[in-house]
């Protein structure tokens, strides 16, 4: 008898057609959505819609006002449809990405069955959930139980109204953009609270109460830290905040003002808490509350909650990029360049579309970087306890958020007197950030070596 060493794991190879199909859909679907957003969001604006329809051979100016309004309505509905689909699909792809990242972190194989690299697993999961029995517990409050997923979904969908994608790529650039965003986010917690209450399950009730306490508490530091970039930009509009920042890291709000850096940390932690992400996943802590407020949900209602939970990651990251990381600003391309490329005609020139696509690429890349950070955190940290969650919020985050708010007021006075101070802090903090990142990388490599392991990126 010999003790044969087990065979090393060999990744499952998909057939070439499957790989090609996966690549086509995996790249094609987001590209199609981004392209739709790229073209639809400027063209559905009233000032361009007429010209766009003119291209199709319609004489928009001669339509009756009712017809024109109908056309606006139809255009907006089309854009809303695209954005909602974007939310759903980005949510599904985030699930896939999260599962692949987590399986790498945990020495697991991970998704590898449906499509190459298991890419279509999220589709399979969603379809499976659609076919499941839609169960409403006998003693549940049937109406509220059925209604609450729609509160959550509505809150989620409304966020996309003010979510920027590029220089002119936003559904509506509301003057009160960020304020609106914070308000509609609150709708999500209404749904969660209703779900917890109406399920008539003690676990769901626990989860719902925890969610309510957590989100209400963390909205305060989140709101205060959002005020810091608002103060620096002097506007609540999402695009306005981005326009006040530059393209280079030392021109981002997060680095130009040391207190904005503090505000960003507070904002990021609060967003994790509001999105119920580790280490703040108390409302659905599976080891304590089974599945929290989701315990009694099944089928499509359950799928809606998951869609929102993962779609929220994109929203969270996009808002962080908007407020602190310079949004879609492209290096060497300022507002004049955009205006020049636009030209004077009713429809912008090809160069303008190119610049828009470029700004969109910058924004998407930054957002994905932040999203990836959230995924890393989820699979690294344990969960904090409910009292610690409250302590962190009220004793640390709220006072620090207030302090950074007041300090930013003073900072803005200083900047008004000495304009160069912003550039200096920007450079210093960017340098410090790069140094910390380098040290972190070195430490990581040292830890990997100490564990007798090596960095291996081949096995994707």
């Amino acid at each position: 008898m010999t003790a044969n060493a087990p065979k090393p794991y060999a990744p499952r190879r998909s057939p070439k057609t499957v790989v090609l199909l996966t690549l086509a859909v995996g790249l094609g679907l987001p590209s199609a959505l981004f392209a739709a957003i790229l073209f639809l969001s400027p063209l559905t604006k009233p000032e361009m819609l007429g010209a766009a329809l003119g291209l199709l051979g319609a004489d928009f100016a001669s339509w009756s006002p009712a017809g024109q309004h109908l056309a606006y309505g139809a255009a907006i509905a089309l854009l809303a449809f695209v954005l909602l689909n974007f939310g759903a699909i980005v949510s599904g792809m985030t699930v896939w990405w999260e599962m692949r990242v987590s399986s790498r972190m945990q020495s697991r194989v991970g998704y590898n069955r449906v499509g190459a690299g298991g890419f279509f697993q999220w589709v399979a999961d969603a379809v499976k959930l659609l076919f499941k029995e839609d169960l409403v517990p006998a003693d549940a409050d049937s109406l509220l139980f059925r209604a609450s997923p729609y509160f959550v979904l509505t809150g989620f969908a409304l966020m996309f109204v003010v979510l920027p994608f590029g220089e002119s790529l936003i559904a509506v650039d509301l003057d009160v953009g960020i304020y609106y965003l914070v308000s509609v986010t609150a709708l999500v917690v209404v749904g969660i609270l209703l779900a917890g209450w109406s399920s008539n399950s003690k676990w769901a009730l626990f989860g719902g109460m925890r969610a309510a306490a957590q989100v209400v508490a963390y909205e305060i530091p989140a709101g205060l830290s959002i005020m810091v970039p608002v103060l620096m930009a002097g506007t609540l509009s999402m695009q306005g905040i981005i326009r006040e920042q530059g393209a280079w890291p030392w021109e981002w709000f997060v680095f130009t003002n040391p207190f904005a850096l503090v505000a960003f940390v507070i904002f990021f932690i609060s967003q994790l808490a509001e999105g119920n992400r580790t280490p703040f996943d108390l409302p659905e802590a599976e080891s304590e509350l089974v599945a929290g407020y989701l315990s009694e949900y099944s089928s499509f209602r359950f799928a809606l909650y998951f869609l929102v939970e993962f779609g929220n990651l994109w929203v969270m990251s996009a808002v962080a990029v908007t407020l602190f990381f310079g949004g879609w600003q492209v290096p060497f391309v300022d507002a004049e360049a955009f205006a020049a490329a636009r030209g004077a005609g009713p429809l912008p020139g090809a160069g303008w579309w190119g610049l828009q696509a470029l700004s969109m690429a910058v924004f998407v890349l930054k957002t994905l970087a932040v999203l990836n950070l959230i995924v890393w955190i989820r699979w690294t940290l344990p969960r904090i306890r409910v009292d610690q969650m409250m302590t962190l919020c009220w004793k640390y985050l709220v006072p620090f958020a207030f302090a950074s708010f007041v300090a930013t007021l003073l900072w803005q006075i200083l900047v008004a007197r000495v304009p160069h101070v912003e550039l200096v802090t920007g450079l210093v903090l960017t340098g410090a950030f790069l140094l910390v990142a380098a040290l972190f990388l070195r430490r990581t490599l040292a830890n990997v070596a100490a564990a007798g392991d090596r960095v291996d990126l081949t096995n994707w």
Binding site: M1, T2, A3, N4, A5, P6, S102, M105, Q106, S107, R108, K202, F206, R210, T278, P279, D281, L282, A285, E286, S287, E288, V290, W379, T380, L381, P382, R383, I384, R385, V386, D387, Q388, N447, A450, A451, G452, D453
Partner: protein, 379 residues
């Protein structure tokens, strides 16, 4: 407890009675806790055991002495090697049988590997109960290698049935020693990585330090054993204090909880004692592989075992603490009585006393830190 179940709940009160189990993700098997809560704070958690009772002790009276060995696996399927060993030693004492030295060494090697595997499950599920999923899978990954090694040794991965009355079933397979040493080299590094990943993670420490403190005297009063007892600062380990088998030949330390980050006897101490014990077990396996003598692996045992009428008690240091077997013979080929004393059962008793004032999330940490395993409670 009956009172608690039947008590009429005041509908206007803030209190809620929560059935924590039997199907619950973090009760580590089918255990029920009846929890009186006031919001997130518990007034009391009363364990309700018996959901996994399989009459294993009664079965012992109906099968022959060697025939009972596979049943002992089921007493604690997370660390079945110790259940094998304890029963084997008890019957050997009844028979007044000498076990060959090589068999003693093989028992020590297999048991210490099994201890590592069991502790990996324990600390892994503990980190998962605290909300970190990754460390648990890292632990399971290492355990997988141990399962492979034990499979190569005895053909089974979970319910080993490896020990025999009078020795062990199989000798070391070819190449096994090198594979085990290679694994241990890797494993020692893994422990460092594990500590960096989770043990001293700030959130993890905050969740466990000073939570559910059990003092040394209280631990002795309640009959806590093994890592739970040592976590409370009591320096007691059967392998050193009442040595059996090959253990007198090895040098190893007994980690004792001394408040690594908080108070001695808190949940973190019980957790970290297990982490330290794994390093010690690794040392023992190395020494045993180094010094293993040649010779027989099984004593001459008659086919039909009929011990003289009498009784015998064996105590072994299992992964979950002291495991005792009490076997009574009436001179026939079947035991008159088999009794297993297990660590998890006594550990359940202390939960009711420690729980008042803890948060619901702390109950999860407490259960995990006591490392209770449902089959071992009920048998």
């Amino acid at each position: 407890m009956e009172k608690l179940i039947l008590r009429r709940v005041d509908r206007n009160s803030e209190e809620m009675i929560l059935n924590f189990g039997p199907q619950h993700p973090s009760t580590h098997g089918v255990i029920n806790f009846i929890v009186e809560t006031d919001g997130e704070v518990m007034k009391k958690a009363v364990p309700d055991v018996g959901y996994l009772h399989r009459s294993l002790e009664k079965i012992g009276e109906t099968v022959t002495y060697p025939g009972y060995m596979p049943y002992t696996d089921r007493i604690d399927y997370v660390a079945a090697m110790f259940a094998n060993e304890g029963y084997a030693i008890a019957v050997e004492r009844l028979l007044k049988l000498e076990v060959p030295a090589r068999a003693q060494w093989l028992r020590a090697i297999s048991c210490e590997l099994c201890r590592i595997a069991s502790h990996l499950i324990s600390i892994g599920t503990m980190t998962m109960d605290i909300g970190a999923f990754t460390p648990m899978l890292h632990g399971v990954r290492e355990r997988e290698t141990i399962n492979d090694l034990i499979e190569a040794l005895c053909g089974a991965r979970l319910t080993y049935n490896y020990h025999r009355i009078g020795g062990v079933a199989y000798d070391l397979p070819e190449g096994w020693r090198d594979r085990t040493l290679a694994f241990l080299d890797h494993f020692d590094k893994f422990l460092g990585e594990f500590d960096r990943l989770i043990s001293f993670n700030e959130i993890y420490v905050k969740r466990l330090a000073n939570v559910a403190v059990i003092g040394g005297a209280q631990a002795i009063d309640y009959g806590l054993v093994g890592p739970n007892l040592r976590g409370s600062g009591v320096d007691w380990d059967l392998r050193r204090d009442m040595p059996y088998g090959a253990y007198p030949s090895f040098e190893f330390a007994i980690p004792v909880g001394r408040g690594f980050v908080g108070t001695s006897g808190d949940s973190f101490d019980r957790y970290y004692v297990r982490v330290l014990e794994m390093a010690e077990s690794s040392k023992i396996v190395r020494q045993a592989l180094e010094t293993i003598p040649e010779g027989e692996i099984l004593a001459k045992v008659p086919r039909n075992l009929k011990p003289e009428a009498g009784e015998a008690l064996s105590r072994v240091e299992s992964a979950r603490g002291e495991m005792a077997y009490y076997v009574v013979s009436d001179g026939t080929n079947k035991p008159y009585r088999v009794r297993a004393r297990t660590g998890s059962f006594t550990a359940m008793g202390i939960i009711e006393d420690v729980s008042p004032g803890l948060m619901v999330a702390d109950l999860v940490a407490l259960i995990a830190s006591l490392d209770v395993v449902a089959p071992e409670i009920d048998r």
